[in-house]
């Protein structure tokens, strides 16, 4: 039920554009395939106009990254799944605050990091001692063995879990989500200098633990 003014417009304004006017009541035409093709500001705008199905598309695009971010914080599937869900619900509630000044993904990270940090604060004492774990004797195991890689990964995971929370957040965002120092500053609400200092000290702490 759309009035197509494409041709008139093409002749009158810019040939490379097509414009369609969708009449009231015809918006059900915006199907999932069309939604999936929209870029993020358009999806956010649709959500804000009451089209909640646009949020499904946002969730689908970002669920893995948000889940993985949460998993990095808590180290288990159940909690990561709950935290990721919580992050998306908070994002929906706060969608009007998304101004497009950062990528939607970065904005979602900010929410997810806050959700995770709150959970971590609630579950653990604020300052956890950095407990140096014994080294695995790597010479005893073939360097390529699954066992070594698995053990080493576990060791690194445990070491990251012991970092003070801002350092942990910085390592996670930088190493695994490849955010720039500037983007991390935006996510954590701190300065770029503080992010770099945090990251440097985090690596130093990890070095002591590994």
């Amino acid at each position: 039920m759309a009035t197509d003014v494409t041709e008139v417009l093409a002749q009158n304004i810019r040939p490379e554009w097509s414009v369609r006017v969708v009449q009231p009541g015809a918006t059900a035409e915006v199907d999932l395939a069309t939604l999936a093709s929209l870029d993020e500001p358009a999806l956010v705008a649709l959500c804000l106009s009451g089209r909640r199905e646009a949020f499904d598309v946002i969730v689908e695009k970002h669920r893995r990254a948000v889940y993985q971010l949460c998993y990095r914080f808590v180290g288990n599937h159940e909690d990561a799944s709950d935290l990721a869900q919580d992050a998306f619900i908070r994002a929906f509630r706060g969608l009007e605050r998304f101004r497009g000044q950062s990528a939607l993904g970065t904005w979602l990270y900010r929410i997810a990091v806050n959700v995770c940090l709150n959970r971590v604060s609630a579950k653990q004492p604020q300052t956890e001692p950095l407990d140096v774990r014994p080294h695995i004797d790597q010479r005893a195991i073939h360097p390529d063995s699954e066992l070594l890689r698995g053990e080493r990964a576990e060791q690194v995971r445990a070491a990251i879990a012991q970092l003070p929370k801002k350092q942990r957040a910085t390592v996670i965002l930088r190493v695994y989500h490849e955010l720039s120092h500037e983007e991390i500053a935006g996510v954590l609400g701190s300065s770029v200098g503080a992010v770099k200092a945090n990251f440097f000290h985090a690596l130093g702490n990890l070095k002591k633990l590994l």
């Binding site: 358009a42 106009s49 669920r63």
Partner: protein
Amino acid sequence: MTHLSNDELLAAAEGGDHTSHLRTCDSCRTRVDELRRVLQLASEVTVPEPSPLFWAHFSDRVHQAVAAEPAPQSSWRFNFAWTASVVGALAIIVIGVAVTLRTAQPVAPVAPVATADVAAAGESLPSLSDDPTWALMGELASQIDWEDAGEAGLIARPGSAELALLQMSADERRQVVELLQLELQKTKSL
């Protein structure tokens, strides 16, 4: 010799900066190598992939939770506030102006890029041929504050559809409105 600062050591470990200093300074090279080793170790840690069923289940859970939420408030600063006074018993009007950049193919899919609901006091949806509705749409299109639209998060990026709308000159926007009005006239004469 002045050694590298912490920031510089980090930059060297992450991006290979300060190579000339590192060539001549064992102390800094050792520290950078240590940072690189830790970065390498950390980067090897992966997150176990949940079962494929998990993602659909996860989306479902979020969908249901979101369905139970009140609608988020639109912060679009399109100048819609005045419409309530202009049109008394307006229910909901949806404007979808769809713009896509055409590719080499003559027919490009059309994607809606700017959809705004205007809700005011009132009960029933206007019918499709309702003149005031169409007239209002033309009015709305002419009243959109394009500068504010940009500020409100409708960011123009090269190649994106909304770029087309936002980069229109005033004259082009006027032409779009005229086209809309032309369509209104057509609808009226049907």
